[in-house]
Amino acid sequence: MQREATHAVAPAVPVPAAKLGMWWFLASEIVTFGGIIVAYLVFRLAHPQWLEEAAHLSVPIATFNTLVLLTSSLTMVLAFAAVDRGDERRVATWLALTVALGLVFVLVKAYEWRHEIAAGRVPGESGFWGFYYGMTGLHALHVLGGVVVNACLLIAALRRRLEPIAHRVEMAGLYWHFVDIVWIFLFPLLYLSTH
């Protein structure tokens, strides 16, 4: 039997709605990226010959891009820390760095794509290249989306309007780190484990 109670029953420390919504979005992103990664995994295991095709990819370039993205996660989280301290100038600096690193990642990726396509390795070439372009393309779109969001926050920060964007920096950060994590897995899936 339920006893009558009038006290509020919200959890002791309520989960902010925006954070809950963001994590819901990220969960749906996890299953989406996860779906295509699972598909790639089973195909890769079923086709040992993809090993040779994957060997065409440039590990040094991808390593560079990995370092770029990992570093951008650091700058993003430092922006969040600066928000917590109320340090407006630093927020703008870190956000600007994040945006720049995100753009570097996309440009390097575009260079890679151009190189592969010039060598005749187009999506229809084989299953591997279908997955390569599908997965990196979907990921690059997510990076671009993050760059746009971060750029908007940067503009707001430059205008010294920290108050309204304070928790948005945290949310954008969650998204940005998620995109980073996806790359952390795409890197070994596509580039490493080839030899």
């Binding site: 039997m1 009558e4 509020a8 969960a27 749906s28 779906g35």
Partner: protein
Amino acid sequence: MSETSGPQAAHAVHPAPQGFVRRYLFSTDHKVIAKQYLAIALFWAVVGGLSAFLIRWQLAWPGEPVIGSGLLPEAFWDGDSWLAQSLQYGSIPAEFYNKLFTMHGTIMVFFVAMPLLLGALGNFLIPLMVGARDMAFPRLNMLSVWTLAVASVILLISFFVPGGAAASGWTAYPPLSAVPELSEVNWGQNLWLIAVALEFASFLMGGINFLTTTVNLRAPGLSLFRLPIMVWFQCIAAVLFMLSVGPLIAGAVMLLLDRLAGTSFFIPSGGGEPLLWQHLFWFFGHPEVYVIMIPGMAAALEILPVFSRKPLFGYRLIVYATFAAGFLSFIVWAHHMFQSGMDPRLAMPFSITTILISVPFALMVFAMIATLWGGVIRFPTPMLFALGVLGVFIMGGLSGIFNGSAPADIYIHDTYFVVAHFHYTLFAATFFGGFAAIYYWFPKMFGRMLNDTLGKIHFWWTFIAFNATFLPMHLVGLGGMMRRIANPLNYDFLQPLQPLNVWISISAFVLMLGQLVFVVNFFWSLVAGRRAEANPWQANTLEWSTASPPPHHNFDTIPTVYRGPYEYSPPGVAEDWLPQHRPLVGGPAATA
């Protein structure tokens, strides 16, 4: 997502927006959004119903010109209008037939059932039932309904592009759906994929609201186990949808790349794997069935206690059983693939989980029956439809055992037995559940009562015609008739079944005709129905504690909740109901 600087934000009173556009088109009010979903669902129900009409016409009288087509002049049929091209002098060619059942399935599942049961019911009821002023993210809510509207327009356009609408079934199995030459459909299938993917995006956005509103915006005193079943089930449905749809979104992108970018994810000649799509589709597809069914069941579970004047039997048991069913729904999907060429050793494990899933649903049915025991049962229209859900769902659940058993499925798979089965379950949820909900919450939604006599006529007409349509379909299936064939008369062994097919078609037409009663009742009551008081059914849940229809801000003061939602005929209280928000004056605190 700036509208949420704290749980209290949505409890702030905002003035109602003025002007038609802000008020009815780009509204952030969950009640208006619910009505928009309802309108979309009803529009598509008409299109889906028309396609069902043509399907049944063709199956009863293959090749005969559709009734009424003779009224149009010969010159019209010689012309190159869309209709003249689709129907050949009024009769239905096989390629158009394939489009019809493809779009019928797509429309009914994605554009009728989900907008009606989640979009309209979830949006309307969750904030009212938890005592909130609106959803947690009102603007996201608006975005979700408009995304669905865009998806609807794209799906509608797909009928009219060259080559016509998609024709590879609502399951879109590749390679048929992956190579335009194989299905003779080009942009129709591309648009289909885009529309369905947008629809998924729409309901993902909706789901954020369902969960966040329930977690953060509950009225004081409304603990989780005082939530109405409807809120529980909507949230479980939203979570099931979110967790299962991702791989299919990925699959839809891959299929679109196969069609447009020359990849071969699903095309075997290029090294692809057609079975992968089936796995991705059904990994989503089975939870999706419950996404639709659970809110339909919830409508019945809300209504049964009210008109039995009894507490819902085993409230917690029902919630736990639904969790169990939701969990199991992730490990049963391969039962759609027993004969697909998947590893046959997988069949028995999936058969076992499938048949096990009958246990939680059986518990739910038994709890519904136990709720009736010892009650004081009245039979207004919502109660009739709720009992309809119960009865039809029992039938659908029982026939599911045949399909779930892998060896029996060898014979039954892809026959009309399957068609009969999923119409018993999904029709039960969508139409009986949906109508129960509409008759029950119409006064809250529109401030007027639906006519009860017309409602009863509508119920009995629907119930009888429904069973006359779908019960014989089991027999046709046992007779061996395959799904998705345009002409059963082509097959000698199906000839003896033809009288049954004619009977099914006539019953289906009667069923469709019966819905006119509802249409008349709906629109007539909208303008001339009896005005509804705040709580016409003497129900306990919070939505009845405010005016009918509720003001823009839902509650003048946020109610405080003292007990669970189903305290009917509690001991020590003179009336046979005790609303959630009414304090017991001077009574012992432990009664509820």
